[in-house]
């Protein structure tokens, strides 16, 4: 197998396995707190930051971090208006930021490779990139472990959380910050558009198969890493794009989980199609 012989592929593999583990666990909490939309949007909204970093020759991580902070701040500002609300605030910030990023990248005479920023350049991972990925993944793991009780309260009983020592608003903020960290860590390898797959698919699979929160977190991590491994092998053997293969592997794992546990419908009352589709917390 090619992957066993190439140092390049092995580096990429290491990075994506580590990222998969961190994203898989984080994704479980994101889904429990119904933040999938925010997750996808933050990933998109950092595009201008990435483009500017790429143009300035600065590590992408810095551009990603800056972009995420600005985006999160704008979303928070816009969401405060009662006529706007958080879903719209996210939609507008993301669309505008993404458009701005694309504008910057596609302007003529600009050398930034938009394709790499959108879909990642996993095979171009340097040792520095891997070190950053591992560091950020460790940070996420530590934060999730230490914050486990806070997260539990925020999901299970936000009203009583304060009386039980919880601070739900801080939890929301902290989780979004961790999300930003994860996206920043993964964006070099998977790109702006695909990092989301690693955050959502392994977690969703784990949530179908495991029956306690701790088990879901562990399984989510394992499946995330597995997606990284399978995706890299497929990419090496079939010569498909690395980042996209990892993303597809993650989705494939969810599909398998879905086939293993097909239904848990009818707990919820029958709803209209739009009610089922619309963003309700």
């Amino acid at each position: 197998m090619e992957i066993l012989h190439s140092a390049l592929l092995q580096r990429a593999l290491l990075e994506v396995v580590v990222l998969g583990a961190a994203c898989g666990a984080l994704g479980v909490w994101l889904l429990h707190l119904r933040h999938a939309y925010a997750a996808e949007s933050l990933a998109h909204a950092m595009l201008p930051g990435l483009v500017l970093a790429s143009l300035a020759g600065v590590p992408l991580v810095l551009g990603a971090g800056g972009g995420v902070l600005v985006a999160a701040a704008l979303i928070a500002l816009a969401a405060r208006d009662r006529s706007v609300g958080s879903e719209i605030a996210v939609a507008i910030t993301v669309t505008t930021a993404f458009g701005l990023g694309a504008m910057l990248a596609l302007a003529p005479h600009v050398p930034a490779r938009l394709g790499d920023l959108l879909f990642g350049d996993l095979l171009g991972a340097t040792t520095g990139d891997i070190a950053i990925a591992c560091g950020l993944a460790a940070l996420i793991a530590a934060a999730l472990a230490l914050g486990h009780r806070q997260l539990t309260l925020a999901v299970f009983d936000p009203v009583a959380a304060r009386s039980l020592g919880g601070r739900p608003e801080r939890v929301e903020l902290a989780l979004l910050a961790l999300l930003a960290v994860a996206v920043v860590a993964a964006v070099q390898g998977l790109g702006n558009l695909l990092v989301f797959a690693l955050l959502v698919a392994p977690a969703a699979a784990a949530m179908r198969l495991a029956t306690s929160v701790r088990a879901q977190l562990a399984l989510g991590s394992a499946l995330g890493s597995l997606a990284g491994l399978l995706g890299m092998i497929a990419s090496a053997e079939l010569s498909t794009a690395a980042g996209a293969s990892v993303a597809l592997a993650a989705v494939a794992l969810f599909t398998i989980a879905l086939l293993l546990r097909p239904g848990s419908a009818d707990r919820a009352p029958r709803r209209s199609a739009i009610e089922a589709l619309s963003a309700r917390r």
Partner: protein, 254 residues
């Protein structure tokens, strides 16, 4: 029983007003006090402020005027139909949440607290199902798990939101017994209800309709005038004026 009976609890609320975010005042002029061992019915129509009062006492929403003094933890036993039943925590996990406030963030929950949680579950009659998923329990069992949580908290004041709604007769009896036990330990119970007849069972009743209408023993407080003021035009007084029903509308919660 490993939870040593606390000293008599007290709660004093004076001129309390609370509102949601920057909206208008959802609740005004609430003044009452109670001592441990007492159970207070919080009576009023939907949207009249019962849940607002609880959230203010829990510190979850802002108090814009007045004061609240409670000496010790406050526990919330909400209606579980609206809870996150899909979140995979066990009955034991829920009981353990009562110990979170006293566990520093960098430590695991103490062994002592784990034992307290198991004892609490035993006390509420759930000792044979600690690992069962909260969402898989019946309505009455969920209530009891949340009461176990309150015991682990060693709460002085328990806020119970319609604890008998949708509960069968047998569970109702068990819950009443538990309440007697909690009161005997010197805790205070605040029981939100829209059932006027149920309100008559307790020591005091607090009538809320956006503001406090009355507070006192049910016999003297639940007069026709007070009920009319609390429920507006929705009251139906039966027979010889000693029994009354409130007409409940379909719930359009905010």
């Amino acid at each position: 029983m490993n939870v040593s009976p606390p000293a008599r609890a007290r709660i004093e609320v004076s001129g309390l007003a609370a509102s949601y975010a920057q909206g208008p005042s959802a609740l005004r002029d609430v003044t009452f006090s109670a001592l441990g061992g007492q159970a207070i019915a919080v009576l009023g129509p939907n949207g009249g402020g019962k849940t607002t009062l609880f959230r203010a006492l829990l510190g979850e929403i802002a108090v814009v005027a007045g004061s609240v003094a409670i000496d010790g933890p406050t526990a919330y036993v909400p209606q579980t139909e609206r809870a996150r039943l899909d979140f995979p925590v066990s009955a034991l996990d829920v009981a353990l949440m009562g110990a979170y406030a006293r566990t520093p963030w960098y430590r695991r929950v103490a062994e002592n607290d784990r034992r307290l949680a198991l004892d609490a579950l035993a006390r509420v009659g759930l000792e044979d199902r600690p690992r069962e998923r909260f969402g898989a329990l019946s309505g009455g069992q969920r209530q009891r798990a949340l009461i176990a949580r309150a015991l682990v908290q060693d709460a002085r004041v328990l806020l119970l939101d319609e604890p008998f709604a949708g509960v069968d007769r047998i569970s109702e009896g068990a819950i009443m017994e538990m309440f007697d036990g909690l009161r005997a330990e010197g805790r205070i119970l605040l029981i939100a209800t829209h059932d006027i007849e149920q309100a008559r069972r307790w020591d005091r009743v607090l009538c809320l309709a956006g503001a406090q209408i009355a507070y006192g023993p049910p016999a003297t407080t639940l007069s026709t005038e007070v009920l009319k003021a609390t429920y507006g035009a929705e009251i139906v007084v039966l027979e010889d004026g000693t029994r009354a029903i409130a007409v409940q509308h379909h719930d359009h919660e905010h």
